[in-house]
C-alpha cells in the first residue's frame, strides 16, 4: 500500500513541470545556472573583465597618472606632485615639430592609402566573382597578417641604394628622375632609404590592407541598381562616381582611415629603420622612457595620439563609419 502511494507520488512528480534535481556536482551546478542565469553570466565575465581591467586598464591609468608628474631638471628624479608642467613641455618648438611631423605623415599616408585601396576594393566588390573573389580576399588577407617586420625588412631591401628600385630606374634610363626627386628638400635625401619618401612608402605598404577591407565591405553594400539608375538618368560615369558611389563608400573609407591614421601615429619602428633621423611621436616616447628616463614626458607624449584618436573616432562615429567596420 505504502509502496504504491510512493510510486504514485513519483509519477506525479515527474509529470509536473518541475523536474527533479539532477545528481552529481555537474548536474546540480547546471541546475543552479539554469535557475539563475546571472550567476553563469558573472562567472563567464569575471575572468576576462579581471584580466583586461587589472592588467590593461590598470597599467593605462598608471601611465596617464604619471603624465601629471614632472621631472626635476637638475637631479633627473621624478617629482611626485601633480602639475601640468610636463604637458607644457609638449609645446616646446622641438616637441611641437615632432607632433606636427607625425600628424602630417599620418594624414598623407591615409589619403594615399584611400587612393590605392579604392580601385582594389571596387574591383573586388563589383566585378570579381567566384574564384577571383576568393583570390582577392586572400590577396588582401595575406599581406595584412604576414609579419610586420618582414614587410619592413623587404622595403629595406627594395629601397637600398644598391637595391632593386635603383636597378629598375637605371634599366629604364630614369636615374635622372630619381636623383631629381631626391634633390627636393624635405622629402628627398641621400637615398630613398633615409628620406621621408621612403618612410611614406613603407607606411603606405604596411597599412594598405587595413584600408582595402573596409572600403571593399562598404562598396559591396552599394546596390548595383543604384549605379544603373544613375546611368539611366543620364549621369556620366564620372558623375555617378561623384554623386552615388563615393558618398556611399565614404563610411568605409573613414573606417579604414581610423586604422591607417592611428597605426601611423603610434608607430616607432618604421621611421627608425627607414627614414631620416628626425623623430616621430612613437620614437620620442621610446627615447623619453628609455635613455632619457623621463617617464612623465613619455606619458604626456602618449596622451597626444590618444586625444587625437579620441576626436577622430568621435568624428568617424558621426559619419557612420562604425557600421562599415
Amino acid at each position: 500500500m505504502t509502496a504504491t502511494s510512493a510510486s504514485n507520488a513519483k509519477t506525479v512528480q515527474s509529470e509536473s513541470a518541475v523536474l527533479p534535481g539532477q545528481g552529481g556536482i555537474t548536474g546540480s551546478l547546471s541546475d543552479k545556472f539554469w535557475r539563475n542565469p546571472k550567476l553563469l553570466l558573472i562567472l563567464m565575465l569575471t575572468p576576462p573583465a579581471l584580466w583586461l581591467g587589472i592588467i590593461y586598464l590598470g597599467s593605462l591609468f598608471a601611465l596617464l597618472a604619471q603624465s601629471f608628474f614632472s621631472i626635476d631638471e637638475f637631479s633627473g628624479m621624478v617629482q611626485y606632485e601633480l602639475t601640468l608642467k610636463t604637458y607644457g613641455e609638449l609645446f616646446r618648438p622641438a616637441n611641437l615639430d615632432i607632433i606636427i611631423r607625425t600628424v602630417s605623415m599620418a594624414a598623407i599616408v591615409t589619403f594615399a592609402a584611400a587612393c590605392v585601396a579604392f580601385p582594389i576594393g571596387y574591383f573586388a566588390a563589383r566585378y570579381a566573382r567566384g574564384k577571383w573573389k576568393a583570390l582577392f580576399y586572400i590577396g588582401v588577407m595575406l599581406p595584412l597578417w604576414s609579419s610586420y617586420l618582414v614587410k619592413v625588412y623587404a622595403w629595406k631591401l627594395i629601397l637600398a641604394k644598391e637595391g632593386i628600385l635603383t636597378w629598375i630606374f637605371t634599366k629604364l634610363h630614369l636615374t635622372w628622375l630619381l636623383e631629381a626627386w631626391l634633390a627636393i628638400p624635405i622629402i628627398g635625401g641621400y637615398s630613398l632609404s633615409v628620406s621621408y619618401t621612403g618612410t611614406f612608402l613603407v607606411f603606405l605598404y604596411v597599412w594598405l590592407p587595413f584600408m582595402v577591407l573596409p572600403v571593399q565591405a562598404a562598396l559591396e553594400r552599394v546596390p548595383g541598381s543604384f549605379i544603373e539608375a544613375s546611368g539611366d538618368l543620364g549621369a556620366t560615369p564620372g558623375q555617378t562616381f561623384r554623386h552615388v558611389i563615393f558618398p556611399l563608400a565614404l563610411p568605409g573609407i573613414v573606417a579604414g582611415s581610423i586604422f591607417t591614421f592611428s597605426l601611423t601615429l603610434g608607430d616607432y619602428i618604421i621611421p627608425q629603420i627607414v627614414g631620416s633621423s628626425r623623430l616621430f611621436i612613437g620614437q620620442a616616447v621610446y627615447a623619453q622612457q628609455g635613455t632619457a628616463g623621463n617617464i612623465p614626458l613619455a606619458a604626456a607624449f602618449t596622451v597626444v595620439p590618444i586625444v587625437i584618436m579620441g576626436f577622430y573616432l568621435w568624428g568617424a562615429k558621426r559619419m557612420g563609419a562604425f557600421d562599415a567596420l
Binding site: P48, F123, S147, Y153, S262, G266, G282, P305
Partner: protein, 271 residues
Amino acid sequence: MRSDGKQRAPWGLKLAAGLGLAFMHLPIALIFVYAFTTEDKSYQWPPPGFTLKWLEVTWNRPDVWEALKLSLQTATISTLIAMVLGTLCAAAVSRTKFFGRETISLLVILPIALPGIITGIALRSAFSIADIPFSIWTIILGHATFCVVVVYNNAVARFRRTSGSLVEASMDLGANSFQTFRHVILPNIGTALLAGGMLAFALSFDEVIVTTFTAGQQSTLPIWMLEELVRPRQRPVTNVVAMVVVLVTVLPILAAYYLTRDGDQVAGSGK
C-alpha cells in the same frame, strides 16, 4: 538587375586593381629571392648568384633557435589564455543583454585600437611600479591581452549565427549545461575558435612593438629580427629567418581562412 558576369570592368580599373595587388605582394616575394643570394655584404640587386649555404648556416645558429623557441612558447601560451578569455567574453556578450555590455566589447577592442606603443609603455611602467621582473611571463601578459580580441571577434560572429534554440532543445532533452557545452555548443563554435586561435598565434608570433617593452634580456624572433634591422650584422641569416617567418605565419592564416570562409568573414576585421 545586375547581369552577373556580362559586365566587363574598365581596363583602367583592372590595371589599378592589379597594380595595387602587385604592390602588396611583390615585396614579400622579394624576400624569397634574397634568402638564396650569394651576396653577404649588401642588398645588391640583381643577386650575383644563388646558393643554399645560408639555410645551413642559419640552421646551425643557436641564437636563432632560442629566439624561435621563446616565440613559439609565448605564442602558444598567450593563444591558450586568449582563447579561454575570448570565448567566455563572446559567450557572455552574445547570449545575454546586460548593463555594461557595450563597455565590455570596447574594453576587449581597446588594446588593439590604441597604438601598440601605448600598451607597451603602460605595461612596462606598471611592471616597474609593481616590481615585477621581466621574464617570459611578462611577455605573455602583454600578448594575451591583445590576442583576446581576435578570438573574441571570431567567436562572437559564430555565436550570432548559432541559434539559441539549439541550446534550449539540448536542455529540454535532458542534457545539463556541461553536456550541452560539450556536445552542442563546442562542435558549433569549434572551427571559429580554431580560426581565432590560429590568428591569435600568428599575431603573437609576429608582435614586436609591445614585446620591446615587456621583454627583458630574452629575445623573441621578432626582437631578434629588429636588432638585425637596426644594426645589420648577419644579413644572409636575416634573409633566411625572414623567409621562415613568412612561411610560419602564412600557413595558419590560410588555414583560418578555410575554416571560416562560409559566411563570417571577420577574421581580419581588427588586427
